[in-house]
């Protein structure tokens, strides 16, 4: 069961992440239009070919996002939806789009994630209140409002540090191995002009010398918020033949959603990507040894380490050995996050998850420039939402 590998990513648009917004403020609904146009141009398709739309929602409207976007873009769709999986949203969008195409619902699907938070400010309405609750809900009756927030269990740094601390107790810890992930991804960013840290190499010692934010996580092991945005076009076999790029077929996927707060994980150190990756590889009929590049969601270095293990690229508990024995750069024997990952390419908010889709796609399309992996045909992509609580795996392959 599953996908037959008959839907392909045929166009991508990823804005170069910037630390501070540049250009005019744009509503998210406007960003949807601009990103959609850029991705369709990249594919060589026109708007009238689109009959599916996957979104993350729009800041200007709390409800009815697909209908509002369909109206604004002037594109009626056979399939419109909102994906709400945090950092796994983007990877989750790709398989939903591919499934809609293989079911015959759609021919061409847009998956768009705005990532510019510089929105126009109203002269008459009160400014939008963001508060400090972030991904936690402080509404009455929310488990987070009642059992997490009063204890300061907010944000991402502390829970990821708790995961790292538990990892250290169960398997041992080598701060230099974790730092090596960040340093080698930075090497990749330095071969990627669009990366926010292009031209700024770092060493393992630089990472370890950066301030401790939440013990044992250093500042340079933690993703930095940026502005940007990304869009991807997924197409049927027929439509893919009309496009400009090498089609990148969605061969397999898996998704696993388990909890919101890691306190309630059945096992904090066995993340849901395990089941998701098993499903993705089995569906694709491709083994892990055939992967030419991996783009693994990297909000923190510990996320990468755990995902390498749980996705089955090495034995559980041997991630440190794996990282220390491999060259993770685009020239290496395990090319990982070849554009720098979110840590060094930049995390444009919710669009950060789409970076990994774009990274894997660029490599298989042969468009990664100086960071191109030779003979790259097969990519593994992961998405990670919440605190390793909802994860998606994709296996992508060129002809």
């Amino acid at each position: 069961m599953g996908l037959r590998g008959e839907a392909a990513i045929v166009g991508i648009a990823e804005l170069p992440p910037v630390r501070k917004p540049t250009g005019p403020a744009r509503f998210t609904i406007e960003q949807y239009a601009l990103l959609a146009k850029a991705a369709l141009d990249d594919a060589g398709l026109t708007a009238d070919a689109v009959d599916g739309l996957v979104s993350h929602g729009i800041a200007e409207s709390d409800m009815f996002a697909p209908a509002t976007l369909s109206e604004y873009l002037g594109i009626p769709v056979n399939y419109g939806e909102v994906v709400d999986l945090g950092g796994a949203t983007s990877a989750g969008m790709i398989w939903r789009a591919a499934a809609a195409i293989e079911l015959g619902l759609c021919d061409v699907v847009l998956a768009v994630v705005p990532g510019n938070y510089n929105l126009p400010v109203s002269q008459t309405r009160p400014p939008r209140e963001f508060g400090y609750f972030g991904a936690s809900s402080n509404k009455y009756g929310s488990p987070q409002a009642e059992f997490e927030i009063p204890y300061g269990n907010l944000g991402q740094n502390a829970p990821y540090a708790q995961i790292a601390r538990r990892y250290a107790a169960e398997f041992g810890y080598d701060p230099r191995a974790l730092a090596k992930i960040a340093a080698e991804q930075r090497t990749n960013a330095c071969a990627t002009p669009d990366a926010v840290f292009y031209g700024q190499p770092i060493t393992i010692d630089d990472v370890l010398a950066s301030p401790m934010v939440a013990d044992p996580l250093h500042k340079l092991e933690i993703v930095m918020p940026c502005q940007g945005g990304a869009a991807v076009v997924i197409a049927s076999q027929d439509a893919a033949r009309r496009t400009k790029n090498r089609p990148v077929w969605v061969k397999g996927f898996g998704e696993r959603v388990t909890f919101k707060t890691p306190t309630y994980a059945a096992d904090l150190l066995r993340s849901p990507i395990s089941a998701a990756a098993d499903n993705a590889f089995a569906m694709a009929g491709i083994d892990r040894g055939s992967i030419d590049t991996a783009s693994i969601y990297d909000c923190y270095t510990i996320t990468v380490l755990m995902s390498l293990e749980d996705a089955g690229f090495c034995e559980k508990g041997k991630g440190i050995e794996f990282v220390n024995s491999r060259d993770l750069t685009f020239r290496g024997d395990f090319p990982l996050n070849t554009a720098g990952g979110q840590l060094s390419f930049g995390q444009a908010g919710m669009a950060g998850g789409m970076h990994h889709v774009c990274d894997g796609t660029r490599q298989v399309m042969g468009r990664a420039g100086d960071a191109q992996v030779r003979d790259c045909n097969t990519a593994f992509v992961s998405g990670n939402g919440g605190i390793m609580s909802e994860q998606v795996a994709l296996v992508l392959q060129g002809d």
Binding site: G141, A145, E146, F147, Y151, L154, A161, Q162, V213, A214
Partner: protein, 133 residues
């Protein structure tokens, strides 16, 4: 800035009432033979309608923790460092909490901890924190 406090709900009230009496009361599902946390209307996993309240010792082990030198949110800016802990009760469930009376260097994953009841009389609520046993 005031720290946010919990607002009990009709379903969770027995837990918070227990804490006010300096007792730890959590739910137990006889059909699953399992204690659960946080309180729910049906047992998670089985959705069995047999949850009953039981008093437990509140003792457990430190499943993991972090010492945060930067506040996780503005209300904790004057309360650093934060000792953010996940505690595993001896009966099985885990909960999020904070450690009090702890020296950072003395903390170890797996160490024994016991409950500390932090009363907030003005708001009529008691928080469940922990300290090394």
């Amino acid at each position: 800035m005031d720290k946010p406090l919990p607002e009990p709900t009709p379903v969770t009230k027995p837990f918070w009432d227990g804490l006010s009496e300096h007792k730890v009361k959590i739910q137990y599902s006889p059909s699953a033979d399992r204690y659960i946390f946080y309180p729910r209307v049906l047992a998670p996993g089985t959705l069995a309608d047999d949850l009953e309240w039981r008093e437990v010792s509140g003792e457990g082990t430190l499943y993991t923790f972090t010492v945060a030198d930067r506040p996780t949110a503005p209300p904790w800016a004057d309360a650093l460092p934060q000792f953010l802990a996940i505690v595993e009760l001896d009966e099985g469930p885990r909960l999020s909490s904070e450690l009090v009376g702890a020296a950072p260097d003395a903390l170890r994953v797996g160490m024994r901890v016991k409950p500390v009841f932090e009363d907030h009389p003005d708001e009529g609520v008691t928080l469940l924190k922990f300290t090394p046993a």
